[in-house]
């Protein structure tokens, strides 16, 4: 079985995106640009190095901008044009489709990259002071950025459910590409400064990851590749749901646990003074990241009243009941477990009132997620938008109303803020009551709706 047969999407994109005329035009244009730049730079003092870096940019830009645009539209466009169901009917599994789209959708970007590669090798051969080690050193970071951006684009695309979201996902591609370029620019700037000023300690940072020292660039590459892989699997899982493949309840929690572990392992650059509250910072950052993704999961996976009824009803007879658990429920339970674990760590290692956040944050997150679900059980056509607006107002409005009366000491009533002047229970009870109330409203709404006989 060749690559085309294994990943038919690669065949399709090759036939549609990489036509002979397009390839020829792309090859001639890209090489003409490289040649023009080379001629322009030939009199510069450090011309080989300057051209080498320019050529690298010329190569990577099509991948970052065009490639990301293509992967962001890979699935959303199919949903928009209603060709997605035809792919769902084929025996292709989610892995074949996801990898096929990752390889196929940006195929013209890959071609442009390859078409300009000879110029890089020409520099390596001709300059004498740029070796293959430099090639790897300069290309690994752009590769990592491109890998992450392409996979993340695919994840955005896979998450679009309807036409509106599909259009949004498609337009996100341009922003994602620009973001990737901006990240690369800043990291390349550090790289160049590092090369030109090896004596500057600020750019010679070493990061400690679970006591393992690594360069800042190495850490960035690791993070981009690791989260690029997670993004790929995220896209694959979402596609798998469409293909009616078995949904596994542990997938989202596994990501949250990994995210927490990864965040806890990354500490401040070595050689810099360690802040006294670094443990608090990394613990709260880990919880905040997990919380952010639980919110994201809650908004992205839409499980409406009929899904809930079926899930609640099928507890005894459905063998896949656990796997059908609504995503935000598994996410929220994971968040609670992570918060409990972090609380234990905090109690063992660090003391202080801030640790109340570890209890408060899950309580308020629970309130918000229950409220989101309640909005979805109403007849609102824009339930998610309504929920997002009300949640924002719930945090923003009280301080605006209370500030003129100098009642900011009561901010713990409406936000996950530890308040040293009040006791632990008094601090957490408002959040707990709000979550309880939101939960009761959801279940009341679920049961008060007309039940189909």
């Amino acid at each position: 079985m060749n690559l085309f047969s294994r990943f038919p999407d690669l065949y399709r994109y090759t036939r549609s995106e990489a036509t002979r005329a397009r390839l020829l035009a792309g090859f001639l244009t890209s090489n003409f640009i490289c040649f023009s730049v080379f001629v322009f730079m030939k009199d510069l003092p450090n011309r080989w190095m300057a051209f080498y870096h320019t050529a690298l940019w010329l190569q990577i830009l099509p991948l970052l901008v065009y490639g990301t645009l293509r992967t962001t539209g890979a699935i959303s466009q199919e949903r928009l044009e209603r060709t997605w169901d035809f792919q769902r009917l084929t025996p292709l599994n989610s892995f074949d489709i996801t990898l096929g789209k990752l390889l196929g959708a940006p195929v013209f970007g890959y071609f442009l990259f390859a078409a300009m590669l000879p110029w890089t090798f020409l520099v390596i051969l001709a300059s004498g002071d740029i070796g293959l080690a430099d090639f790897w050193a300069t290309y690994r970071l752009p590769f990592a950025v491109a890998f992450f951006a392409l996979n993340f684009g695919l994840l955005i695309s896979a998450q679009s459910f309807d036409g509106r979201q599909s259009k949004f996902a498609s337009s996100m591609g341009a922003f994602l590409g620009l973001w990737a370029v901006s990240q690369l620019v800043s990291m390349q700037a550090v790289h160049i400064v590092k090369r030109l000023h090896p004596e500057n300690s600020a750019v010679q940072q070493t990061v400690s990851f679970y006591s393992l020292p690594m360069s800042f660039e190495g850490f960035m590459i690791l993070s981009l590749v690791v989260y690029g892989i997670w993004a790929f699997f995220g896209a694959q899982w979402r596609i798998g749901e469409d293909l009616l493949e078995k949904r596994r309840f542990w997938r989202f929690p596994a990501f949250l646990v990994f995210l927490t572990w990864y965040t806890l392992g990354s500490s401040v650059p070595m050689g810099f003074p360690v802040p006294s509250n670094s443990k608090e910072i990394s613990t709260l950052t880990a919880l905040a990241y997990a919380c952010f993704f639980v919110y994201a999961g809650g908004f992205l996976w839409v499980e409406r009243a009929d899904y809930w009824r079926r899930w609640l009803r099928g507890r005894k007879e459905d063998p896949d009941w656990l796997d059908r658990t609504p995503v935000w429920v598994t996410g929220y339970i994971s968040l609670a477990v992570i918060a409990a674990y972090l609380s234990v760590l905090a109690l063992l290692k660090i003391q202080g009132g801030w640790s109340r956040v570890l209890v408060l944050l899950p309580l308020f997150a629970g309130r918000d997620l229950f409220f989101l679900q309640w909005c979805r059980f109403t007849r609102s056509r824009r339930a998610d938008m309504m929920a997002a607006i009300y949640i924002c107002l719930a945090y923003a409005l009280p301080p605006m109303l209370l500030a003129p009366f100098k009642l900011t000491a009561h901010s713990y009533l409406y936000a996950p803020i530890p308040q040293g002047q009040v006791g632990f229970l008094q601090n957490i009870i408002p959040g707990f009551l709000q979550m309880l109330l939101a939960g009761l409203l959801v279940f009341r709404k679920l049961h008060s709706q007309p039940q189909p006989e």
């Binding site: 065949y11 036939r15 169901d85 769902r88 009917l89 084929t90 007849r379 189909p452």
Partner: protein, 312 residues
């Protein structure tokens, strides 16, 4: 499930929030049947077809296609069906052959067999001479046939076609009818949903009528027609000097309605063969010069309208 039953739905139900799109549908389709799935807009035809195609999970109940449960083995069901949704999205930038090549690969057809299968499918939908044409240059009818060719690639025994004739010109519809006839002759089991009831007439062996998500009637076309349309429709042509025919007809016991058409009379008649014979005799005895006297065949449209409580 009996051997000759290829499709079976058991209390199939689908809810969208508070709306029940399909409600407890029990339908059986024997092997080789061509079923006309009819019903007004929003009756649940597309939802029903999508559940049968294992593209949409039922809220309750299930469906079995070739003995495979859509809930338990949706991926296996996909291999047994060819599904044509009401919107046949194609990849315009590919040629006809490339498009089928792509789906041939996706259906994991062996490379040495793929060419032959594609040629056969193209021949069946009469697009063989267009195989190198870009899809964007095809007419609507050709695009529709190409979409059908895609559904045939893996040689499924069941074809589910949702509004296949929508938007086609008369020639396109005629070509499609021919194609369905050929597919029926090849032994495929077809479920065709359509609004254009007259075109289903020629090749449908069974009818299923959906109304507000429930199955109002289903079975062999002739049986359904008979059970739903009790009255016969008689067409009578007489010579121009036949006097007061309307009163003569209305005076006969089994004549329910009579309508004057430009060249003839159309009569709703509730009697049987004997009464029909008596009516003819009654007219002849009254001195009416009857030049044509015959029973109109009931169409699917008549059956459908009868069920919807409308006058045919």
């Amino acid at each position: 499930m009996a051997d000759d039953i290829l499709i079976e739905t058991i209390h199939l139900r689908r809810e969208y929030g508070d709306t029940i799109a399909v409600q407890d549908v029990n339908l059986t389709v024997p092997k080789g049947a061509v079923v006309a799935l009819v019903g007004p807009n929003g009756a649940g035809k597309t939802t029903l077809l999508k559940m049968m195609a294992a593209l949409l999970e039922p809220t309750r109940g299930t469906a079995r296609i070739c003995g495979l449960d859509v809930r338990e083995s949706p991926r296996e069901v996909h291999s047994k069906i060819g599904f044509l949704p009401d919107f046949y999205g194609l990849y315009d930038e590919l040629t006809v052959r490339e498009y089928l090549e792509y789906f041939g690969m996706a259906y994991r057809l062996e490379k040495n067999r793929r060419e032959d299968i594609i040629d056969r499918a193209l021949a069946l939908v009469t697009l063989i001479d267009k195989s190198s044409s870009p899809i964007e240059t095809l007419s609507r009818g050709m695009r529709q046939r190409l979409a059908i060719a895609r559904t045939l690639l893996h040689d499924p025994p069941v074809l589910l076609l949702d509004e296949p004739a929508a938007g086609l010109d008369p020639e396109g519809r005629h070509d499609l009818q021919q194609l369905f006839r050929r597919l029926a002759q090849e032994g495929k089991t077809l479920i065709v949903s359509s609004h254009i009831l007259t075109e289903l007439e020629d090749y449908c062996s069974h009818i299923a009528i959906l109304q507000k998500g429930t199955l109002a009637a289903a079975g062999r076309a002739d049986q359904i027609r008979e059970s739903l349309t009790k009255e016969r429709q008689l067409r009578i042509r007489v010579s121009s000097d036949s006097g007061d025919l309307e009163n003569l007809l209305k005076g006969f016991p089994n004549v329910e309605r009579c309508v004057k058409e430009p060249e003839c009379w159309l009569i709703s008649f509730s009697g049987g063969d004997q009464e029909q014979h008596a009516l003819l005799k009654h007219l002849v005895d009254a001195g009416v010069t009857v030049t044509f006297f015959g029973e109109e065949k009931r169409t699917i449209q008549d059956t459908y309208l009868a069920l919807m409580n409308r006058k045919p």
